[in-house]
Symmetry: C2
Subunit: 570 residues, 2 copies
């Protein structure tokens, strides 16, 4: 019973042994993260096409819920750029005019996302995310960054929001030049430049000013708040029609379940599934990377429950879908958050902001917030990984490019599905055409190597072929074809040795093919042998008495013993 | 130019060197195959729900077309049981009452099937068939056999044909008992028993009567014709209302293109794709198995053209979809057909039957033909392979069972898709959870083995882990998780050696994971090393300077040198 509780409520593991010094670390981390979180929460709410306060709501209860159910001490859940973009696309497709209806739909989407994540945990479907490869994810994130930046173009230029997709925003720009609001544009450009400079040189500047290096790196990350405050002061000073965030309701969010609107839920469900998948992939990647650096690990199944609970909490408190954010989690890690209580501290700070500082938030200029969004989007693009994937492997590069182009040209769902499908198809294609090498003996040794790569000795009567892949239904015909053509090219051949050192599995189709090959080759006067069969594969072959099927053929421990024995035989 | 012709018209390869003795062999094989083919052609036409003569039409021109374009000297194309069943299901679903319309629709289906096969040849899509595994094919054939037998139940009992699927035929049987036509039932039972006995003991009986063994085995295969002749004589003698095949038009088929009915074609296309796939899989399996026994091989891409041309020929000459048949091809092989000319001889014999013997075919009792169909269906079920697959590997057994049950319960298309999809999903699932073993040194040797299977020496400071699968996006997270948990369990660990002897590929996702692991482990004070990396994998790792990424970590040639060197270090 006790173990079961441990399984579902990880906080029972760390709370009993909680110590004073843990709290000191959690407090510092929690406060610093909230400084980074407030501007991000407002920014991502606007990115999602929702009122600013919903971002703070989405950063309050979800943090507490994750602290109760999640497994990572440093993962900071809350609004993140990609999920906000997906939320904006989903809510936008509903065609709701009333802001209240949009807020309600976003809350319903969060509840559905949470339900999907919990259902995945119950059905142990967390493994699905394994099938989204890194290049597909990188391609998707790069495309999402482009879409996010495009969505902020009108805000940065002080243009009124307009209908149409991301590309329409760009296309109408030249036409709209006369309507550009110059002070807004100046403020937006100033914020962007400031943020870029702070991100590139901020830490170095602070070190030059005498700040110790770790502290300098921390402070540089808190630049967005500074820029927003400066921009707000500037806007208040000029007050020349610069669009601001506008009134933010004071106080904590009211709890309420979303109205049971089946038609709406059915419309939202596909998006909720995709948001759950993408959010979960991001959260697990972040949490796992940070855990590895502390020589610990996270439990992906538990993360499903943690992020699922966080999304439910966001939904019932007027927020929108959330996930684990990279920059805030990294900050948590840097400062040294000891337990999930750091998240509770952050939530407390957000509550204080909601209770006492929300009037100030109303003065934030939208263009400056847009600059924060653009900078966050830019950090989503991992150029190095994308270039590396492209150089390393054309198949991976292709999947990345297809995902990127499809997301930009068709949409987010189509892009992810196309990328994931293509990467699976290419994997199957690759394994269906395995590398097969005729091997010969390196003179004077017991080593056997590819005759195309090395100077080796071969025999006209005995042929050794190594196949570098597990044998399964999709490559068994390819293997058969290749072996038969090697045999057909050697009229004096008497023995064919299949070297299985890289064969990790032989399925029933491959077994049937090997059996057919054995009989077919026997009719043609060639005996089939195996060599270097692995333990687990051998166990299974013995179960069906494959040695009996081989007849005169044998299963040798090593290629060398096979060649020695067969060349010596008459 | 000349080579190109060789590629498209294989007959240019064998015709110039054709010799007299080749013709003797082709003549004998061609005539014997036609003796087997005539009853089968009539039977499969009735199985397809079409008039008897369409079966002969489908056996005439397609043989000539295949002789021109196919690559196998022994593959005998023409009507086959499974394709006829699929044709029956397709034509039946159109709800056509007029026999002429059904014949026209079947011809259109054959043309479409041929077009699909030729399109697959052009687009080099022949590889698709690799993804239909043997267990899926066996499960499908077993289910098809059941459906074929069920469809013949009313005919064997002399009941009028009725609407409804295969199962309805069985369910209504008890109700229909009073209407059973006793003489038909007796004739059907007699034919079935005779065929079964001939197939089981015929060859032995003939040997006992003094026939040489090869001839006896040949003759026993021709039993269907003998049984049909006996049954026809019996039916003519009694003539007690026993249903017969009925008038067969004399003369050769007229050539005509199917009417351009786009609505019909669109309805038929999905079925044509599936018939093309199944027919191609069957033809290639048969041709490849027989080629292996002669130490030669077939070219699967050419088979697409050969069977595609055969289907086009069937369509323009009033036939229905065709494929390579197992029993007739095996007979061809046994008798020793030397070239595709044997097929032309068979076609000549069919032409003679159509010209001079068709009045006699009219007297064949339908019940006896149904007995021939049931026996042919029984031979589709490969109990041994099915049991072996089940025993050998639960995943393969499951795919087989799912295909079988889905074909029987839902339909042919759903069954094949479910089976193929499931086998791919299970393959991905298997490779996504690779076998990972901590290895230790077998005392006194340079061999390293799984610590769970062998008594081996390990070190607290150096850990060697072998992963038995290529590293790709679907298993990279599993690997990372496993490695981190092994590291987390060993507080004194300083070096982790990943043994890559069974890693045939490392994709971009896996590379990224390895990079992240390297940095993460380095932060935790553990250095990652690789050992036994294969040539092609190493080439690619060098392209992105992975050795540089490893930092202090090294890439060792063997596990032994890694362990020696690392245990000796500080």
């Amino acid at each position: 019973m006790h173990r079961r509780w441990l399984r579902w409520l990880p906080l029972l593991r760390w709370l009993p042994s909680y110590q004073r010094e843990d709290f000191a670390r959690d407090l510092l981390a929690g406060v610093l993260v909230s400084v980074l979180l407030v501007p991000q929460a407002v920014a991502y709410a606007l990115l999602a096409g929702l009122p600013a306060h919903t971002g703070l709501y989405a950063a309050l209860l979800p943090l507490v819920a994750y602290a109760l159910f999640g497994s990572s001490p440093v993962l900071a859940v809350g609004p993140v750029a990609v999920i906000s973009l997906m939320t904006a696309a989903t809510i936008g497709s509903l065609g709701l005019e009333e802001p209240q209806l949009r807020v309600a739909a976003a809350a319903a989407l969060a509840v559905l996302t949470g339900a999907v994540l919990l259902a995945m945990a119950l059905l142990r479907l967390g493994v699905i995310v394994r099938f989204i490869s890194h290049p597909v994810l990188n391609g998707f994130l790069a495309a999402a960054a482009v879409l996010i930046m495009l969505s902020q173009v009108p805000v940065l230029f002080g243009l009124p929001p307009a209908d149409g997709g991301a590309w329409q925003q760009l296309i109408r720009l030249p036409v709209e030049v006369p309507r550009v609001h110059a002070p807004t544009m100046v403020l937006g450009a100033f914020s962007l430049v400031m943020l870029a400079l702070m991100s590139l040189y901020g830490a170095r500047l602070l070190v030059a000013c005498g700040t110790p290096e770790p502290a300098a790196r921390l402070l540089a990350q808190l630049a967005p708040l500074a820029v927003l405050v400066l921009a707000a002061l500037a806007a208040a000073h000029w007050s020349a029609g610069i669009a601001v965030v506008g009134s933010v309701p004071e106080g904590l969010p009211a709890l309420s379940l979303p109205a049971p609107d089946m038609a709406l839920w059915r419309q939202l469900l596909p998006a909720a599934v995709l948001i759950a998948l993408v959010g979960f992939v991001e959260s697990v990647s972040v949490a796992q990377a940070l855990a590895a650096r502390r020589r610990s690990r996270i439990e992906p199944e538990r993360e499903l429950i943690g992020t699922g609970a966080a999304n439910l909490a966001a939904g019932v408190s007027g927020g929108f879908p959330v996930a684990g954010g990279l920059s805030r989690s990294a900050l948590n890690f840097q400062v040294g958050a000891a337990t999930p209580l750091a998240g509770v501290v952050t939530a407390g700070c957000i509550a204080l902001v909601l209770l006492f500082l929300s009037p100030l938030l109303a003065w934030l200029p939208r263009a400056a917030v847009a600059a924060v969004i653009v900078m966050a989007a830019a950090s989503l693009v991992d150029w190095r990984a994308m270039l590396a994937a492209w150089r390393y492997n054309r198949a991976d590069g292709l999947c990345m490019a297809v995902t990127l182009v499809t997301v930009l040209a068709v949409g987010i769902e189509a892009g992810i599905l196309a990328g994931a499908g293509l990467s699976l198809a290419l994997f199957l294609w690759r394994t269906s055409r395995p590398h097969i090498a005729v091997v010969g003996r390196v003179p004077g040794t017991e080593h056997y190597r590819n005759i195309r790569r090395h100077e080796v000795q071969t025999s006209a009567r005995v042929l050794a072929v190594r196949v570098d892949e597990s044998l399964y239904f999709a490559n068994t015909r390819f293997l058969e074809d290749r072996l038969l053509s090697e045999v057909a090219a050697r009229p004096d051949l008497q023995h064919l040795v299949l070297v299985c050192s890289a064969v990790n599995d032989i399925d029933a189709s491959a077994l049937e093919t090997l059996t057919r090959l054995t009989y077919g080759l026997a009719d043609a006067g060639v005996t089939l042998h195996l060599a270097e069969v692995k333990g687990p594969v051998m166990d299974r072959l013995q179960r069906v008495d494959f040695a009996g099927t081989l007849g005169k053929g044998r299963i040798f421990l090593s290629t060398h013993s096979a060649m020695q024995s067969l060349e010596r035989s008459d």
